[in-house]
């Protein structure tokens, strides 16, 4: 499926979709969105690229194996879950919030980091499964 149209489209769509996925992740706490959907969208962005350019080229632009994103994400989520216990002696999963208001993101708190972890895990898992299957099928 290496058509010119798809290639051109995916060149533009890849950064746009990635940005969009991050946007979806950040707005999740107030509006529809969140880490799960964000991760899926990010994965779709790369899958689209793989369709257009072939898997090898996609691997090249990602540089690392997508599988490494899974433990990274889990670590971020787990870290944000136990952060209250370590930092304040509060039970795990208690929300910690930075005072003040930030543009676009709203409030920054442990929930956002938790969601970021989910984002990376979903991103990593989808790409790992899809890449592995398409390599071996």
């Amino acid at each position: 499926m290496k058509t010119l149209i798809l290639r051109t489209a995916s060149d533009i769509l890849l950064p746009v979709l990635l940005l969009f996925s991050v946007f979806i992740l950040f707005r999740g706490h107030y509006l529809p969105g969140g880490g799960f959907v964000g991760g899926l969208i990010a994965a779709i962005a790369f899958v689209l690229h793989a369709f257009a350019y072939g898997l090898k080229n996609t691997r090249k632009i990602i540089k690392i194996h997508p599988g490494f994103l899974m433990p990274l994400g889990l670590l971020i989520s787990f870290g944000s879950a136990i952060a209250p216990l370590v930092a304040e002696g509060l039970p795990i999963m208690t929300g910690l919030w930075v005072p003040g208001h930030f543009p676009v993101i709203g409030k920054i708190g442990s929930a956002l980091f938790f969601d970021t972890g989910v984002y990376f895990v979903v991103f990593g898992v989808s790409l790992t499964i899809i890449f592995t299957i398409s390599e071996n099928a």
Partner: protein, 768 residues
């Protein structure tokens, strides 16, 4: 305090980075870990002997009443000091015993986890954390017992030990939940305040049985004793640690800890006494038929545990003191005998008592330690063993139930223990010197000093029993028997009845030692009876379990995907269909329903058509694409009914699913009709029934009065508590964040599974 309880975990984790040091010449440094714990807790001795109870609490999951509450009182401090003290010596000994072993670092890691789990177990005031530490000891001991994982018998024993003690832990959880339900607290101290309500409650018998099952499996009481001799497959330092001061004593600790809550009833006392008595007699006689040093020690350990259970069963103040003193006695002599056996095994390469003799030459300090250890075990004056035996007879004579029978049983058992102790601690060193052992010389000081230190303590405590009595045993027993009466443990009581009983025991033991000769013929005799032993019965049962589960699995999981799906669907149809059949009323309030719009009708038509297309199309790719259409149609439905989150997720998931399918299907052979026509009809009927049933189910749900408490709670609190306006997301990342955490872990496991399976297949294909 948390730091010191968890020091073993920290140590084990740090071995990941420090394994080179732990394996090298500085391995003995690891003994500093238990030593520092010992020193930290030894500081509490003064306060505990004044009758103080030291508490330290850390929040863990306060919303469930699960906290890391640690309590230092006489009983727990006694155990803590034994665990860390003997731990220090075992860590030290291991550095020489397993010198240069390939996996010494792993060994220390398991040992560290085990030690911390044991500390947590005896210090926990919370039943749930007690359970967690309890299971952690079972799991870490599995790795320790199966340390020589290349031998199949070692693996089997480890599995057996894990099976028995692990199941016991589940009983403990059951007891904890019921107790928590009755007294609405998981804190042992608080439950103790309400022991009357617990004893009067209707589930008292049930709780007690559960606690007994947990304790008896862990402490190897009859008929669950058989895992312990098998656990001797472990390296000797492990046997030393597990069977002298830690693992098996956990059960005894549990019944001691629960005796002020559940104790002092007829059921409690008699059950413990009967089980303890059977265990101690049964295993004491078994000891006569063994020739392997470690097997003799294993049976004498179970026997000693039987005595402790028995004493706890008598349940008087004196008996509890006797039990606690005996715990110390047993820990000291059993640990030293195990370590001595380890030295003998290390030096001669055998543990067969019929072959060993004359080892005193070359191993003199070890021989002396062996003799003293045997004296402690036999209860010869002036060791602590003598004090312990005195206390045992005193409590049996003062028992409410059959004092003479109980005393008789104790004398017999003690005489046999005397015999066992001398067999292991003295016999290998006496007799003519053998040619093949002539070159033996003393091992490293790290090996012979630990048993020497322990037997010295055994004598020191014997001469001055108040050293442990006033500081630990009596304050501990006071709490357990809810009394403030003073009690002084003494070595010498004069020539009274108890003294003569003690002398009788030693005489019988000595006669046994000279008359009985362990031989392989005796071992063979007992092996003939093996088929009726509890062990072989359990093994046969587990074999049966294996066969049944294999057939069961084959029945439902035959490897065809369609078969799996059909099984699930049929199962759900039967289950839900039965419920619907029981109460088939469906009331729908048509007025409350919104009108159908053109969009909805269009979508439903699209869905219906693409379903038909999916089922009947001859092309696989077309089927997948039309499945995708159904998915996107769903997204639109979600949008119409204001669930944009769901729509977004469904949309992305559907896109990826179609891509995945296309990637796989692209390479598959041509779409053929594999399944037979009647099977297709059968599956069609099944799916139609399933669909109808789900529809009925949803209508049924609609006809129930709406309960919106949960959604109201989330809607009201998501901004207040979690500062988020998107309730769905707040539930996912905050209210039910733990679920999400586990879900993403499952996702990762699934991805690793796919990766592993396909990569392995690829490699296998490459080889061809």
């Amino acid at each position: 305090m948390l730091l010191f309880v968890c020091l073993g975990f920290i140590f084990s984790f740090s071995i990941l980075f420090l394994h080179k040091i732990v394996k090298g010449k500085l391995a003995w440094l690891s003994a500093l870990v238990p030593l520092s714990i010992f020193i930290y807790f030894a500081k509490f001795l003064k306060r505990v002997s004044d009758g103080e109870v030291i508490r330290s609490s850390y929040n863990w999951i306060p919303s469930f009443g699960v906290n890391l509450d640690f309590v230092v009182d006489g009983l727990s401090l006694l155990f803590v000091l034994m665990i860390s003290g003997i731990g220090t010596l075992v860590f030290w000994y291991t550095s020489s015993y397993l010198k240069g072993h390939q996996y010494l670092d792993r060994f220390y890691a398991y040992l560290g986890i085990f030690m911390s789990a044991m500390l947590g177990l005896v210090l926990s005031d919370n039943l749930i954390t007690l359970f967690l530490f309890w299971e952690l000891t079972s799991i870490s001991s599995f790795f320790l017992i199966g340390f020589n994982n290349e031998s199949s018998s070692s693996r089997k024993s480890a599995l057996l030990a894990l099976g028995i003690t692990g199941i016991g832990g589940l009983f403990l959880l059951g007891a904890a939940v019921i107790l928590g339900d009755i007294s609405s607290s998981y804190s042992i101290a608080e439950i103790m305040q309400q022991s009357n309500e617990v004893v009067m409650s209707s589930s008292y018998i049930f709780i007690t049985i559960l606690v007994f099952l947990a304790a008896f499996t862990k402490s190897a009481q009859f008929p669950f004793h058989f895992w312990l001799p098998g656990a001797m497959k472990a390296p000797t330092p492990v046997s030393t640690y597990l069977h002298s001061a830690t693992m098996v004593k956990a059960g005894i600790y549990l019944i001691l800890r629960f005796s002020p809550i559940l104790g002092d009833t007829y059921f409690w006392n008699t059950t413990l006494m009967i089980v303890g008595a059977i265990t101690m007699l049964y295993t004491a006689f078994h000891m006569l038929f063994r020739t392997d040093l470690k097997a003799i020690l294993a049976y004498s350990t179970i026997c000693a545990l039987g005595i402790m259970t028995f004493l706890t069963g008598i349940g008087t103040y004196e008996a509890l003191i006797a039990a606690m003193v005996f715990i110390v006695v047993h820990a000291l002599y059993k640990a030293s005998l195990f370590l001595i056996t380890g030295i003998i095994d290390h030096k001669t390469g055998t543990r067969d008592i019929t072959k060993l003799s004359g080892l005193r030459q070359g191993l003199m300090p070890v021989a002396i330690a062996g003799f003293v250890a045997a004296s402690i075990s036999g209860g010869i004056i002036p060791t602590l063993g003598f004090v312990g035996k005195d206390l045992i007879y005193e409590s049996t004579l003062h028992s409410e139930y059959y004092p003479y029978v109980l005393t008789g049983i104790s004398i017999l058992t003690n005489a046999l223990l005397f015999y066992g102790g001398f067999l292991v601690g003295v016999k290998p060193f006496l007799g003519p010197k053998k040619e093949e052992y002539s070159k033996i010389h003393l091992p490293s000081i790290r090996m012979w000093l630990p048993p020497a230190i322990m037997v010295t303590l055994g004598v020191v405590f014997g001469l001055a029993p108040h050293l442990i009595g006033d500081t630990l045993v009596v304050p501990g027993s006071k709490i357990l028997s809810k009394t403030s009466e003073a009690f002084h443990i003494k070595l010498w009581h004069g020539f009274n009845l108890i003294f003569w009983l003690s002398t009788l025991t030693i005489t019988v033991g000595t006669v046994l030692y000279f008359v009985l000769k362990p031989s392989h013929a005796l071992v063979k005799t007992i092996e003939k009876l093996e088929y009726i032993s509890p062990k072989s019965i359990v093994e046969k049962l587990s074999l049966l379990y294996k066969i049944v589960s294999k057939y069961w699995t084959m029945l439902f999981q035959n490897g065809y995907l369609r078969h799996y799906v059909a099984t699930y669907v049929t199962f759900i149809i039967i289950l839900v269909g039965f419920l619907l059949y029981q109460d088939p009323r469906i009331v729908i309030d048509y007025n409350s329903l919104a009108d159908l719009t053109v969009y909805e009708i269009t979508i439903i038509i699209i869905m219906f058509l693409s379903t038909l297309f999916t089922v009947f199309t001859p092309s696989r790719l077309a089927a997948v694409a039309s499945m995708g259409i159904i998915g996107f149609a769903f997204c639109l439905l979600y949008l119409f009914y204001s669930a944009p989150d769901l729509a977004m997720t469904q949309f992305s998931v559907d896109t990826l699913t179609v891509i995945l399918f296309v990637l796989v299907l692209y390479r598959l052979p041509k779409y053929l009709r594999f399944s037979k026509n009647y099977l297709r009809i059968e599956h069609g009927i099944l799916s139609s029934i399933f669909g109808t049933m789900i529809t009925l189910l949803i209508l049924k749900v609609l006809s129930q009065p709406k309960k919106t408490e949960i959604s109201d709670f989330y809607a009201e609190n998501s901004y207040v508590l979690a500062k988020g306006k998107n309730v769905v997301n707040v539930i996912l990342v905050d209210f039910r964040g733990t679920d999400t955490l586990i879900e993403i872990t499952v996702l990762i496991v699934a991805a690793i599974g796919v990766f592993g399976l396909l990569k392995l297949r690829l490699k296998a294909r490459d080889k061809k």
